[in-house]
Amino acid sequence: MGYSKFINMKYSLLALMVCFLISCGEKTETVSTDEMIDLAELRQEIAIHITNDLILPAFQELNRKAASLNQAAVNFQQEANQDNLITLRAEHQEFWNIWQKTSLYYFGPSVNNGLRAGLNTYPTDADKIENNIATGTYQIGSLGNQDAEGLPALDYLLNSIEEISPLADFSEARLDYIQVLTSAIQTKVSASNDDWNKGVFVQQFTGTDATGTDVGSALGLIVNGIDLHFQRFVRDGKVAIPAGLRSAGVVRPQSVEVLYGNYSTALLRNALKAYQDYFNGTSLTRNDGPSILEYLRKIDQPDLADQINTHFTILLEKVDRLDPSIAQQIEIDNEALIEVFLSMQDLVAIFKSDMASVMGISITNQDNDGD
C-alpha cells in the first residue's frame, strides 16, 4: 500500500468515525425527545391494546368454545357412546382452560353479567346435582343453583363416574341435565361476548375514560379488577383455601377447582400465564401494542418492571413442579402449595402496592391528603 493510500485510509477512517459519532448523537437526541411522551396518550393506547388484542379476542374464542362444548353435549345426548364422551370431556377441559384467559378481566361487562359465578362456582354440590336430575325441579341461573351448574358441575357429571363401565350411569335425565348446563353456559358466554364486542362499554372505556388514573378510568378498572380477581379467585380459590391457609391449617382438598378431573394445576398455570401475558401485553392477535410493562419503563421504573417478570417466572416454575392435580398435591406435600401461595403473595404486593403506587392508580375514590 502506498503512503498516500494510507493517508487516505486514515482520513476515511476518521470521516467514518465522525459520521458514526454524529449519527449516535442524533440517535440520542431522537431517543430523548421520544422520552417526552404524553403519558395520557400512552395510557389510552395501553387500554386500547389490552382491549382489542387481549380481552375481545379472548371472549370471542370463549364464545366459539362454548358453542362447540354445547354441540358436544348435544351429540352425547343423542348418542351416548364412548367417542362422544371422550370428545365432550375434551371440550369441557379445553373450555375450562380457555376460561382462565378471560376470567381475569374482572370489570365492566364481565362483572355485570355474573359470568364468573355462573360458569365457575366451586366446590360444586354433588347432592344438589343428583337431586336436580332426579326431581327435575330446579331453576337454571338462580343464585341458589349456582353450585349445581357450570364447569365444576360438569366436572362431577363427566369425570366422577366409574371407569369400568363409564356409560352405564348416563340416564336420559342425566344427559338432559348435562345439555341444560352447557346450554346455559353458552347463553351466558354469548351475552358477555356481545356486551364486550358489541356493547357500549368498550367505547367509553377506550375513549374518554382511558387517559386518567382514577378509580373509574380504564387503567383504574383494569388494575383494580385484575388485582381483586387474582387475590380472590386465583390465589385464594385455587390455592390458599384448599391448602388450609384460611382454615386454621386444616387442608380442604374438597375445595379445589377441579375435584373429579385431574388437571387443576393446568388451570392454575393457564390463569397465571394469562396474568403474565396481560402484564407484558402479549396479544392474542398478531397486533403489537404498548403494555403495562412498557408504561413502567417509561415512568422510570425499569427495576420494578423486571422484578414483576422475575416473580412470574419463579411462580410458574413452582407451579410446574406440582402434581397435575392440586388435590393430589395436598396429599403428597402441602408445603409445595404453601410455597406457591407465598410466591403469589409477592406478586400481590407488587401489583397492589408497588405498581399502583408508581403509576398513580387510585384504589378508592375517597378524599385523601397524600397518606
Binding site: 422520552e35 417526552m36 411522551i37 404524553d38 403519558l39 395520557a40 395510557r43 387517559t211 386518567g212 388514573t213 382514577d214 385464594d236 390458599a240 391457609l245 384460611r246 382454615s247 386454621a248 391449617g249 415512568i299 421504573q301 427495576d303 420494578l304 422484578q307 401461595f341 403473595q345 400481590v348 404486593a349 407488587i350 397492589k352 402496592s353 408497588d354 399502583a356 403506587s357 408508581v358 403509576m359 398513580g360 392508580i361 387510585s362 384504589i363 378508592t364 375514590n365 375517597q366 378524599d367 385523601n368 391528603d369 397524600g370 397518606d371
Partner: protein, 451 residues
C-alpha cells in the same frame, strides 16, 4: 389609640365574613359527604373502627346520622349567626366526635376544621350581620379586638408554614418525590396536563410549592403584596384541586385566607351587602369590659404553644419519620409522600399450630385496609383486634405475626414490620416501635448524588 396590640379595635366585618363563609363551607361539606354515600361507607358499613379512644364508642347507626345532622345544622347556625356560641360548640363537638371514630379517615384539613371550630366558639363572630343580632340587638358590636382575627390568621399561618417546613426533606427537594409519581399520572388534565410529562416539572412544582407554603403568609400580611399573594393562593389551590383528590380543602383555604385583607375593605364589602339585603340593626353604645382577652390570655398562650410543639414531636423518636410515622399525624404534613403497602397477618395458637392467614377484607373495608397497610399504629391496633377475635374462636394466647411490604416514594417495596415478632404481645403505647424494620431509601431508586 390603644397601644396594647391584641385589644386594638378593628371593624367586626372580617370576622363576620369568615364566620359566614366557614359555616357555609362546612354545611356544604356535610351535604357533599352525604351525597357521596360516605356516611354509609365510612361509618356504618365497616364492622371495625380504628378508634382513637376506646372509650369514645361508635354511637350506632342512628347516632351517626344524628351526629352528621347536628354538624350540618350547627354549621348553618354558624353561618347564620343563630345561637352562635351553641352552634359553634355543637359543630366542634359533633365534627370532632365523627373524626375520632376512625383513624382511617384522618385528614389534615379535618384537623384544621376542628381547631377553627373550637376557636370560633370564643370569638365574637356573631356580633354583626347575624340572626342573633336581629333577635337580640344588644349583642351587636361594630368593633372587635384585633386578637380575634389574628388568632385565625395564626391558625392559617400554622398550616402553611409547618406544611412548608415538612417539605424541606431530601425526597421532596432532590428527588421531586412524590410529585414525580403523581404529576405524570395526571397528564390528561386540561390545560396543564401536557406539561406534566416533562422531567423538570415535578422539580418546579416541588420547589415552588415549598416556597409558597413557607412565605405566602408573610406576603399576605404585608399590605403592598397582599392582592398578588391572594392571587397566588387562589391559583395554587385551584391547581391542587384539579390535580389531586383532596376534597374541599382547597376551597376552605381560599375562603379562609380572605381574613388577611384589611378590616377596612371587609367593612366596605359588608356595608354593601347590608344595603343590598336590607339588613338593618341598631347600634348600641359599646359597654366596657367585654374584652375576654385578659381572662383568656393564659389559655390561648397554652393553646398556641401546644400547636407549635405538636408537629415537632417526631423528633423524640428514632427512625425515618415517613416510614415509622411516629408523630406524623396532626403535623400538617399535607400531600407529602406516596406510600402504599400490602400487609397481611398470620395467627397461630400458642403452640404455633393452627396457622391461619387472615383475609383482611373479612374485617376491614378497602379504604381501611389501604390505610392500615402503611401506618404502624393501625397495624398494631388491628393485630390486637385479631388476637381478641381469635381468642373468641378458641385460640389460646394467639400469636399474631405481620408480613408487611411497603413502598415509599417510589422505592421497591420493603418489609415494614419484623415478621417474627408476636404483635399480640406488644403494648400499644407512646414508646418507640422497636418491631419496625429500618428503611432503605435507596432500595430500587437512584441514590441522591452526594456533593
Amino acid at each position: 389609640m390603644n397601644r396594647y396590640y391584641p385589644t386594638q379595635l378593628i371593624p367586626t366585618a372580617p370576622l363576620v365574613h369568615f364566620r359566614i363563609l366557614f359555616g357555609l363551607m362546612m354545611a356544604l361539606s356535610m351535604v357533599r359527604f352525604y351525597h357521596h354515600g360516605w356516611i354509609e361507607s365510612l361509618y356504618i358499613e365497616p364492622v371495625y373502627f380504628f378508634s382513637y379512644f376506646e372509650s369514645l364508642a361508635h354511637p350506632g347507626t342512628t347516632g351517626i346520622y344524628l351526629l352528621f345532622l347536628t354538624a350540618f345544622l350547627s354549621a348553618l347556625g354558624i353561618m347564620l349567626g343563630l345561637f352562635y356560641r351553641w352552634s359553634a360548640g355543637l359543630f366542634f363537638l359533633s365534627f370532632t366526635y365523627i373524626e375520632l371514630i376512625d383513624k382511617t379517615n384522618y385528614l389534615n384539613h379535618y384537623y384544621f376544621v376542628s381547631l377553627v371550630a373550637f376557636v370560633l366558639i370564643f370569638l365574637p363572630a356573631h356580633r354583626d350581620f347575624s340572626l342573633d343580632t336581629l333577635r337580640r340587638p344588644q349583642l351587636k358590636r361594630t368593633t372587635i379586638h384585633r386578637w380575634t382575627t389574628d388568632l385565625i390568621k395564626f391558625q392559617l399561618a400554622l398550616v402553611y408554614i409547618f406544611a412548608g417546613i415538612a417539605k424541606l426533606n431530601p425526597d421532596w427537594l432532590f428527588r421531586a418525590m412524590p410529585l414525580k409519581l403523581w404529576l405524570p399520572a395526571q397528564s390528561h388534565v386540561p390545560i396543564i396536563g401536557p406539561f406534566l410529562s416533562y422531567d423538570i416539572t415535578p422539580f418546579i412544582f416541588s420547589w415552588s410549592g415549598a416556597i409558597y407554603d413557607l412565605f405566602i403568609v408573610f406576603f399576605l400580611l404585608y399590605r403592598p403584596t397582599r392582592w398578588l399573594a391572594y392571587l397566588a393562593v387562589v391559583g395554587f389551590h385551584i391547581a391542587t384541586a384539579m390535580l389531586f383528590q383532596i376534597g374541599i380543602f382547597p376551597y376552605v383555604m381560599i375562603i379562609s385566607t380572605l381574613i388577611f385583607f384589611s378590616p377596612a375593605i371587609h367593612e366596605k364589602v359588608l356595608n354593601k351587602i347590608k344595603k343590598w339585603t336590607g339588613f338593618i340593626s341598631a347600634n348600641y353604645p359599646m359597654t366596657k369590659n367585654w374584652g375576654s382577652w385578659q381572662k383568656m390570655k393564659p389559655f390561648w398562650m397554652v393553646f398556641i404553644i401546644v400547636q407549635l410543639i405538636l408537629p415537632l414531636r417526631f423528633l423524640a423518636y428514632p427512625g425515618h419519620l415517613f416510614w415509622t410515622e411516629q408523630g406524623y399525624r396532626f403535623s400538617w404534613r399535607v400531600m407529602l409522600m406516596e406510600k402504599a403497602g400490602y400487609t397481611t397477618f398470620t395467627i397461630s395458637d400458642e403452640m404455633g399450630k393452627k396457622t391461619e392467614w387472615v383475609n383482611n377484607r373479612d374485617y376491614l373495608t378497602a379504604q381501611q385496609e389501604k390505610m392500615m397497610s402503611t401506618q404502624p399504629d393501625m397495624i398494631l391496633q388491628f393485630a390486637h383486634h385479631l388476637a381478641e377475635t381469635y381468642k373468641n374462636k378458641g385460640y389460646q394466647n394467639p400469636i399474631v405475626r405481620c408480613q408487611s411490604r411497603v413502598t415509599l416514594n417510589g422505592t421497591l417495596s420493603q418489609p415494614l414490620v419484623d415478621p417474627t415478632v408476636n404483635l399480640a404481645a406488644v403494648n400499644r403505647d407512646w414508646k418507640h416501635k422497636s418491631w419496625l424494620l429500618p428503611f432503605d431509601p435507596d432500595f430500587g431508586r437512584k441514590s441522591i448524588p452526594k456533593k
